[in-house]
């Protein structure tokens, strides 16, 4: 397997309605920034992977229209779409393409322009017989799974609100983040509109317009072009049962993320993730999910996620800072969100995270979450 590294990344400013740009222009902004960050010209790209959930914009095969925006014209181009994991799965697809030796430099770009479609309608297009009437959209089924998780693990609404506050406080140091709420408090989260018990408005991610891109390169090229490449040490994907009722306790078990993490940790030589990882960028569409993911990712034993947030272990100055960028809770252009996780993890290794840089990052985790319980995990590091 050829060694593969992230040598640059770029993101748009994510926001509620980016009506200053068309979809191809939005994509071009992120791609141009990524190429500049990697210090390469578009001609250097061998292939492009595009990530987007096209029904959110009411489109089909969006790469046909957007390809030129991504500098994919007259190049090999693949489009990946797997719900929330689209971005991380696209990064893994690009990683496999470079690792195969077929391509040397691959651009991965994800985008979503929710403001040009209707996300809830898109999310409602699940199985017409069994799911559409009972589990359509993100909120209702999350509320059920969260109640189950809380009952099983004793997590409180205050602890979840602390996750929401941490995310928005971190986002205040990330100029790309959609939500800018530096002074948000736990009380404000708990007092925000109740959407579906126990989830309040400020527990949820926003719906964002935005795009993000990374540049992947094979070992020799990465060393030549980048003083400190962010090497992909391991990556894995796990998909789950199609019907939510068939998934065992979802957030409480999250066996897909557990297994994807276990597999990547083994390949990357991570024995104790809390000790061996320096930073994590995880895909948490709702505050409670971050707590559940702490357990699934082995940051703590089952039942101890509340303690982790209470003790500040995952704050910027904690043992393992989680989502210095503000996470999905602060910006969620779905097709881009997984790419953002990988880009942010890479920036931490590259030392290019600006005001939300964690000092001395050698090893970083990025995860993706999609559909009901699909999961991706990638470990990046300063050495291959």
């Amino acid at each position: 397997m050829t060694e593969v590294a992230v040598i640059g990344s770029g993101q748009t400013d994510h926001g509620r309605k980016r009506d200053d740009v068309s979809q191809p222009e939005l994509v071009r902004q992120a791609v141009a920034l990524a190429l500049a960050d990697a210090a390469i010209e578009p001609e250097r790209l061998d292939a492009v992977v595009i990530s987007n959930m096209e029904l959110f914009e009411g489109r089909a095969l969006p790469e046909l229209w957007l390809g030129e925006g991504a500098y994919a014209a007259r190049k090999p181009c693949l489009k990946v779409a797997t719900g929330g994991t689209s971005g991380t799965s696209s990064c893994i697809a690009g990683y496999h393409q470079v690792a195969s030796g077929l391509f040397d430099v691959v651009l991965v770009v994800g985008f979503e322009k929710h403001s040009e479609g209707h996300t809830q309608t898109g999310m409602a297009l699940t199985d017409p017989f069994w799911d559409r009437a009972v589990a359509a959209g993100a909120l209702g089924n999350f509320a059920l799974s969260i109640s189950q998780y809380m009952a099983e693990r004793g997590v409180t609404q205050e602890q979840a609100a602390r996750v929401a506050v941490k995310a928005r406080r971190n986002a205040a140091r990330n100029p790309h983040a959609h939500l800018q709420m530096p002074d948000i408090t736990v009380e404000e989260v708990l007092a925000s509109k109740l959407l579906a018990h126990p989830v309040h408005l400020l527990d949820m991610c926003p719906q964002s317009d935005g795009a993000a891109a990374i540049v992947l390169a094979g070992g020799q090229t990465a060393r030549r072009l980048c003083p400190r490449p962010a090497w992909i040490k391991a990556a894995e994907t796990r998909h789950e049962q199609p019907f939510i009722g068939d998934i065992d306790r979802r957030l409480a078990s999250m066996r897909t993320l557990r297994e994807a993490a276990r597999s990547t940790y083994a390949k990357a030589g991570i024995a104790d993730p809390l000790r061996d990882l320096d930073v994590a960028e995880i895909y948490e569409p709702v505050s409670y999910a971050e707590l559940a993911w702490y357990e699934a990712l082995g940051f703590c034993a089952d039942g101890e996620a509340g303690r982790l947030i209470d003790e500040g272990v995952t704050e910027m100055d904690g043992t393992l800072p989680v989502n210095p960028s503000g996470g999905v809770l602060s910006a969620n252009p779905v097709g881009a969100s997984g790419v953002i996780r990988v880009a942010e993890a890479a920036k931490q290794v590259l030392g290019r995270a600006g005001e939300h840089q964690v000092a001395g990052v050698e090893t970083a985790l990025a995860t993706g979450y999609g559909v009901y319980a699909w999961a991706d995990a990638l470990v990046l590091g300063a050495t291959p």
């Binding site: 095969l61 969006p62 790469e63 046909l64 190049k75 090999p76 719900g83 195969s100």
Partner: protein, 350 residues
């Protein structure tokens, strides 16, 4: 691509459902028999699959992340699945990358579509530039008609040749029916001038499953190449497929073959419209000795999304059955007037 180490992945199992004009089953029920057939063909079980690459398009299925509908039947529960929203041959080429990368040894590739559920041409409008093309009412068929029109303008005899091509393909695809003639094709309704109904491969429901693995007996997926051309038909040469020329050059390079090598015994192009066979020959520089879609190709039923993978299946079946057939060129295409192109070179096993 390192030329001393050609890109070789074994095509180990083949299965398909359909193509049929309208499959009354659910998507999962339609896909399952194709997967079971591919597994049986390779003498493998679900537990042997390391990873899955699926191809489907949400808008065509009327489902968000429409691979949710098939996660169980393709055996992707608790496994790595990559879902390509594009032609199934591109999915196969990605699976080959995963194997070559050493990530997985046995990868199942599955593509499906059910155009009987909705008007496919109506849906195809939503793949076109919504600012400059979609408001004109263009769809994939209209784009193919514009392309055929550009060729016919320079070559007035062309539609008669296309009628012969269509008749040959229709007859090869179904010898039981009353044989079609070029005159029948030319008498069929004009659908996108100068294309007539008989010059268009009939859309069909179906699924194709192909098992790829890192070694063992069977035909080799030896070379692969993709290309995405610019979008607006006005920005391209309307009478050619330059993207296919580029994709073929990449495939030859990845197979460690000379750029001029055209030693193909068989070609299985994704010709949805009769004029595309000429486009294919022109773009690839294929020599007359190469046999083209002896089974009629997509004129036996064109399943969108699965079309390119169906051509791979047909080529692999032929390489297995006919020792004289040593090397095949397979093509998939998608988008308006062949904007997206994907090519695979298949070699007979040693």
């Amino acid at each position: 691509m390192n030329q001393s180490s050609p890109f070789e992945v074994v095509v180990a199992g083949l299965g398909q459902t359909g193509p049929s004009p309208a499959d009354g089953r659910s998507i999962a029920e339609m896909v399952l028999p194709a997967v079971q057939a591919a597994l049986a063909d390779a003498d493998l079980g679900y537990d042997d699959i390391d990873a899955v690459v699926t191809a489907s398009v949400d808008l065509f299925d009327g489902l968000t992340a429409s691979n949710i509908a098939i996660t169980e039947v393709v055996g992707a529960v608790m496994k790595p699945e990559t879902r390509i929203a594009g032609d199934g041959l591109a999915a196969a080429l990605h699976a080959a990358c995963q194997i070559r990368a050493g990530a997985y040894e046995v990868v199942l590739v599955v593509a499906h579509a059910k155009p009987s559920m909705a008007d496919f041409q109506d849906l195809s409008q939503w793949a076109l530039d919504p600012i400059f093309l979609q408001p004109l009412g263009l769809d994939f068929l209209a784009c193919a008609g514009l392309q055929a029109s550009a060729r016919a303008a320079a070559d007035p005899e062309a539609p008669e040749r296309w009628a012969e091509t269509a008749a040959r393909r229709l007859n090869a695809a179904d010898g039981q029916k009353k044989p079609a003639t070029a005159a029948d094709v030319l008498d069929s309704p004009l659908v996108a001038a100068p294309l007539r109904a008989g010059m268009c491969a009939p859309l069909a429901d179906g699924a194709v499953a192909v098992l790829l693995r890192a070694g063992g007996p069977g035909p080799r997926l030896a070379g692969l190449g993709h290309d995405l051309d610019v979008h607006l038909p006005g920005d391209r040469d309307p009478a050619a497929w330059p993207g296919l020329t580029r994709a073929l050059a990449r495939a030859l390079k990845s197979a460690g073959l000379a750029a001029s090598d055209r030693a193909f015994d068989l070609a299985e192009p994704s010709c949805l419209y009769a004029h595309e066979e000429e486009l294919f020959i022109g773009a690839t520089g294929l020599e007359p000795k190469t046999e083209i879609s002896p089974g009629g190709g997509l004129f036996g039923g064109a399943v969108p999304v699965a079309a390119g993978l169906a051509r791979l299946l047909a080529a692999a079946q032929r390489l297995r059955a006919d020792p004289a057939c040593r090397r095949a060129l397979v093509q998939g295409s998608w988008g308006p007037a062949g904007q997206g192109q994907v090519v695979a070179i298949i070699k007979a096993g040693p």
